[in-house]
């Protein structure tokens, strides 16, 4: 079903949703997905947000359980899982593709119930990308900026959002908005426009030939990693900005009233990531840098029927202080394959 509402009403619609809403908001020039509260600055035109929406499902920090320790005894209390429905409003195709990647990890047996409960309770409202950035290259990785896969998709055309519902969940949410029905024509027109704009982007078509399990050792052993990784600072910015990076650490802290066990994002860029008492298998930044890109472009597709764990959002292009990013790796290691 297709509906329509003026862009100027977006804030009122977000405010009117009876559930918690996570939406892109701008603060001090930076955009991230936050739990929306009145007075926040909605940033529905930003592509992509500085921080991705991954931490709605996989928070940067989350409590897992609490221990009471007395003498030799330990008592454990699990953290409650998400049990209330919520809405993500304004997700982009790349970030939605990223959730599909995260699903492959967290919903694979044995299921991570902390993540799964959030996935279950979410209704996803997507925004088609009418103004993709030069750093966008999502179509290489299966995302479609013209028709993001969600419960509801919004298409910005002129001063309006055209609304299409794709699931029952989406239909139920949009019903609450009491919108006017609309023609599909403008939606189809916009899809065509986005398709044309995408074609003009510098990284629209990357050569991914050879990035698969078949060429695993060949890619791993490439002498090019040395030069590629030389300037890497190991700051981890790429991993935290990346919507699919999901490596995590589990840590404890003393609350003064017991021990809180929490999970937080971790980064394969750090020297202590694989450090054991006897040493580490990745002693130099070269190995750590290689691990990150091999994982995204070779290991992950080898384990997941060819699905890459890059979604072409371009955040690493924008965020790496040394301008090292995945497109450089694809070009350096991929082109030798095509020749």
């Amino acid at each position: 079903m297709t509906y329509q509402f003026p862009k100027a009403n977006a804030e009122a619609i977000v405010k009117g949703i009876s559930r918690a809403v996570y939406a892109p908001v701008e603060k001090d020039g930076l955009t991230s997905f936050e739990r929306y509260e009145a007075g926040m600055n909605l940033a529905l035109d930003t592509i992509p947000t500085d921080k991705s929406m991954k931490d709605v499902f996989f928070p940067q920090w989350e409590n897992l359980m609490h221990f009471r320790v007395e003498g030799k005894t330990i008592e454990l209390t699990e953290e409650e899982r998400c049990h209330q429905d919520f809405v993500i409003f304004g997700a982009r195709a790349c970030d939605i593709q990223a959730v599909k990647v995260l699903d492959k990890v967290f919903l694979a047996d044995p299921v991570d119930s902390y993540y799964a409960s959030r996935r279950e309770h979410c209704t996803l409202v997507a925004l088609a990308c009418d103004k993709p950035e030069d750093s966008c290259f999502c179509k290489n990785f299966g995302a479609d900026p013209a028709s993001p896969d969600a419960d509801v998709t919004l298409y910005p055309v002129g001063d309006d959002y055209y609304v299409q519902t794709n699931t029952e969940k989406g239909e139920a949410l949009v019903k609450e908005w009491n919108l006017d029905k609309a023609e599909e024509g403008p939606v189809e027109w916009l899809k065509g426009e986005i398709g044309k704009k995408y074609e003009e982007l510098p990284f629209a078509h990357l050569n991914l030939k050879g990035f698969d399990g078949e060429h695993l050792k060949e890619k791993f052993d490439s002498p090019k990693w040395k030069k590629l990784s030389m300037a890497c600072l190991g700051c981890g910015s790429c991993t935290f900005a990346c919507p699919t990076c999901q490596c995590y650490d589990i840590r404890d802290y003393d609350t003064g009233n017991g021990v809180q066990r929490y999970r937080c994002w971790d980064s394969c860029m750090y020297s202590d990531f694989t450090l054991m008492a006897a040493g580490t298998p990745r002693p130099h930044q070269l190995e750590r840098y290689r691990q990150r890109f091999m994982h995204k472009l070779v290991y992950f597709p080898a384990n997941n029927d060819g699905m890459y764990s890059c979604v072409g959002c371009g955040r690493c292009i924008k965020k790496c202080p040394m301008h090292l990013h995945i497109v450089k790796v694809i070009k350096a290691l991929g082109e030798e394959e095509s020749k």
């Binding site: 359980m65 030799k72 005894t73 330990i74 044995p110 695993l216 050792k217 791993f220």
Partner: protein
């Protein structure tokens, strides 16, 4: 495996045995008695002291032990130092079992077996050895080559001496790195001893020990004519989750916690050399 993979059970340490100056073996029971869960030889479990840390340890007892599980742990870091201070009655958290076991019911069945261990590397193999002893009719001849730095560093020495050495069909070959007073057994490194023993290249071989030992044992086995498809090992890399999700124990596209820790060497050879 448990339904909630990151949420541990509570276990109670019911016995602490001093094996060597830096290895202790801890017996763990469920609070109501018995084992916390069932496992197969070669599988591991996450042990933790809240506020100190959580780490993966191989389960050294055999699944045929119906009363308890044992962990032989070398003191080498923050958590293991804390564990070494434990006394019976101390609660720990435990979750598992994790990983794939040695193929005791498939590839190893009906075969002559050679176990080659160095130092604390005996811990995961002991589970298999005692499983094989409990199902003796299912396996052929057993050879155990075990070496350590000194005679005081041999883990589980009383069991080796009083049980393994006395059992028909089991040959135990012990060695220590350097001569020592009171030791009249073999002296020398494990890989050289393997060559000296000159095993026929048949049956299956299970190897565990320091990476450098494994490397030279493989060369020794190559020299004796063994094929890599006959040789198994168990790997250890840093782990946080145990279920292939936290992202740090991979060798290429394989996660040691989930796809290992037991690997056959021909398969391991197909992976990048990053372990």
């Amino acid at each position: 495996m448990m339904k909630e993979p990151l949420v541990p059970m509570i276990g109670i340490v019911t016995d602490v045995r001093v094996d060597t100056p830096d290895v202790k073996t801890f017996r763990v029971n469920a609070p109501g008695g018995g084992k916390c869960f069932e496992h197969m030889p070669g599988q591991c479990a996450m042990l933790s002291i809240p506020g100190v840390g959580e780490a993966m340890f191989s389960i050294t007892s055999s699944p045929t032990n119906e009363e308890y599980q044992e962990f032989s742990i070398k003191k080498c870091g923050c958590l293991t130092s804390w564990l070494h201070q434990m006394e019976p009655g101390q609660m720990v958290t435990i979750r598992g079992p994790y990983g794939n076991p040695f193929p005791v019911e498939t590839e190893l069945k009906g075969q002559d077996l050679i176990f080659i261990a160095g130092g604390i590397g005996l811990a995961p193999l002991r589970s298999v050895i005692n499983y094989v002893r409990a199902h003796r009719e299912n396996y052929g001849k057993v050879d155990i080559v075990y070496g350590s730095r000194s005679k005081d560093d041999l883990v589980d020495y009383p069991e080796i001496e009083n049980e393994w050495c006395k059992e028909a069909g089991i040959n135990v070959h012990l060695t220590i790195d350097r001569p020592q007073e009171g030791w009249d057994g073999h002296v020398g490194f494990v890989p050289n001893y393997v060559t000296e023993l000159g095993f026929d290249p048949q049956g299956k071989v299970l190897v565990c020990g320091p990476p450098i030992m494994i490397k030279f044992v493989l060369q020794a086995l190559d020299g004796l004519g063994f094929d890599r498809t006959q040789v198994f090992t168990t790997m250890e890399l840093r782990m946080k989750c145990g279920i292939g999700k936290c992202g740090r124990c991979n060798i290429g596209n394989k996660y040691v916690c989930k796809d290992g820790p037991v690997f056959r060497f021909d398969k391991l050879g197909e992976l990048p050399d990053e372990y």
